[in-house]
Amino acid sequence: MNPVATPFFFYMLSGIMLIGGILVITRKNAVHSAIALITTLLAQAALYLMLYAPFVAGVQIILYAGGIMVLFLFVIMLISIERSQKERQFNHQWLVGIVAAAALGTLFISVYTKAKSLFPEPRTISYPEAQNTQGIASLLFDLHTGTYMFAFEIASLLLLVAIIGAVVMAKKRI
């Protein structure tokens, strides 16, 4: 069976992501921006699939495309379009923008040219695609091989704090 992860798909998906990302900031209509952002997120999920990380791809679709973007749209829909059309789209901070873009670009180029010496030898990941989800589970929860349990629990505690904070801020009287 030939691998699905051909360069063609990579370039296609990255192209979609780039176009979507540019559309997000250039559209005046906030709903159009949101739809472009959804396209970007879906293409990103497909990139995760190409990296043989189906679980991350599924979570990406559920959380970002299906959850967060729905709430985004929910809020954006209630904004008056006529008024937002008249507002200034960009605040002209060219200097800061150019400096930031140049710094990021340098970083990307240096990573691209020196990647082999910068990174340690690639660890061989022994989980085939069909075992990926099970691999994540055993890394997290297994009694003997699980090493990330503590970090996982800390992250979930952070989320809990965020949830309680949201409730406290949204409710005037608890």
């Binding site: 709903v31 679980f55 599924g58 299906g66 729905v70």
Partner: protein
């Protein structure tokens, strides 16, 4: 050409995996087309059945004019919709208005990639099957929201707002019920309370086929596992899935008496029919999730009480018998047709339809065919039962108010789901010691 034929045959030679898993593009395409055609036929049947059953529940006749007993009504409707003028309101956002129905249809149809009609009868088996189904079907709310917004009109906007709030709320309860089932797939003990001893616990699975195989291995459908925990989980899902698909009694996004037609008020013709198609295929999709997770997927009923080769043989006759019964129903109605010469064509048509159904039934009795379609038949039969429930709900329950709907979602289903998840995990944890203790005492 010769290589192509070999390529086609290579999949048939060892037929113990899905075409997706075998990486065979040709058979995957064939399966996709089969599922697409089957789904379209199912939606057409549902259209007719819903009108007929609802009508009979309300002591009416339902469609009777187009074809015998209104059998051709769905086709007439489809023609009408295709010929209707396609209106895009002047103030609407044309591009988004145009895209929205396609998002909904895409989301509704894509999930069928992983629906397991049988151990080999699925387009593909994904490692993240159930996650994929929930994720992609949650994308349909994006289509509904954008449709409501793009119409630039009051009723659709309110419908879209209601719909997004409702679907996001019920997704939470739905997810909790699903997680409790995924927990059960990691157990290995047979029977109602079987856990499989300490240390034998393995990682569970998210694959749709794997979930059904786990039920087969444990010898119990997950609806009965840890009775009554499995049953409670099933009920949470069964309520949440009605809300997810915006059907009565949770059909607030398209409540006719308040919002005209909700989010698709401004749509007409072909685009409207796309929403219709998506709604029904989404219903079938969530029903097949419920069937796969709790009702043993393609497994036949009573595998424990009525086991053995004889019973397998008897149960394999069911597909053919069903179609023969449908054919017999047609002939019964042929006899009851009015003898007026004006009804002659209708009578002949109905008799022809009965003959076709009976012939399909006879084909399904051929041993080779019989063995192949058994799993598909049981899966479809279980899904069909859910479809009937949908119609039954619509004929029975009055519509909820929006605050009641939110109350049920957040204050009843969500805490129940959380408690269920904790209880299921606790049962899996404490069952082995209790079992040991019982063995020592008795």
């Amino acid at each position: 050409m010769h290589e192509f034929i070999q390529y086609i045959q290579s999949y048939l030679a060892n037929k113990d995996q899905t075409p997706g898993a075998a990486g065979n593009v040709f058979w995957a395409t064939v399966y996709v087309l089969l599922v697409f055609v089957g789904l379209s036929i199912a939606v057409i049947c549902m259209n007719w059945l819903e009108r007929k059953i609802l009508a009979h529940m309300q002591v009416r006749l339902g469609p009777m004019r187009v074809g015998p007993h209104g059998l051709l009504q769905p086709i007439a409707d489809a023609l009408k919709l295709l010929l209707k003028e396609d209106i895009i309101p002047a103030e609407a956002d044309a591009l988004v208005f145009w895209i929205a129905p396609f998002i909904v249809v895409l989301a509704a149809f894509t999930v069928f990639v992983v629906v397991p009609f049988g151990p080999t009868h699925a387009i593909t088996d994904m490692n993240i099957g159930i996650l994929f189904m929930l994720g992609v079907s949650s994308l349909s709310v994006l289509g509904i929201v954008t449709a409501g917004w793009a119409s630039n009109s009051h009723y659709p906007l309110i419908g879209a707002l209601r719909s997004s709030a409702q679907m996001v709320s019920y997704e939470v309860a739905m997810g909790l019920a699903v997680v409790s089932v995924i927990l059960l797939t990691s157990l290995h003990g047979a029977g109602l309370y079987g856990v499989g001893g300490v240390g034998t616990g393995d990682t569970g699975t998210l694959s749709m086929i794997g979930i059904v195989q786990a039920q087969q291995e444990q010898g119990v459908w997950f609806i009965f596992k840890f009775f009554p925990l499995g049953l409670i989980g099933f009920f949470i899902f069964a309520i949440a899935m009605v809300a997810e698909t915006n059907r009565a009694p949770f059909d607030l996004p398209e409540a006719e008496s308040e919002l005209t037609a909700g989010f698709h008020t401004e749509y007409s013709g072909f685009r409207w029919s796309l929403f219709f198609l998506a709604e029904y295929s989404a219903m079938i999709a969530v029903s097949s999730i419920a069937v796969t997770l709790w009702l043993g997927g393609w497994l036949r009923p009573f595998p424990n009480a009525l086991h053995g080769a004889t019973w397998d043989q008897i149960f394999s006759f069911f597909p053919g018998l069903t179609f023969l019964a449908l054919g017999a129903m047609c002939f019964f109605n042929v006899v009851r047709m009015p003898k007026n010469p004006l009804f002659k064509i209708q009578t002949i048509g109905l008799a022809g339809f009965g003959v076709v159904l009976a012939l399909i039934g006879l084909i399904l009795f051929i041993p080779g065919v019989r063995d192949r379609v058994g799993d598909i038949y049981w899966f479809t039969a279980k899904v069909a039962a859910f479809m009937y429930l949908y119609i039954w709900y619509r004929g029975t329950f009055p519509r909820y108010r929006f605050d009641q709907l939110m109350k049920v979602g957040w204050k009843v289903l969500l805490p129940t789901g959380l408690a269920l998840l904790i209880l299921t995990a606790a049962t899996a944890f404490v069952a082995p010691p209790i079992e040991e203790w019982l063995k020592r005492v008795l």
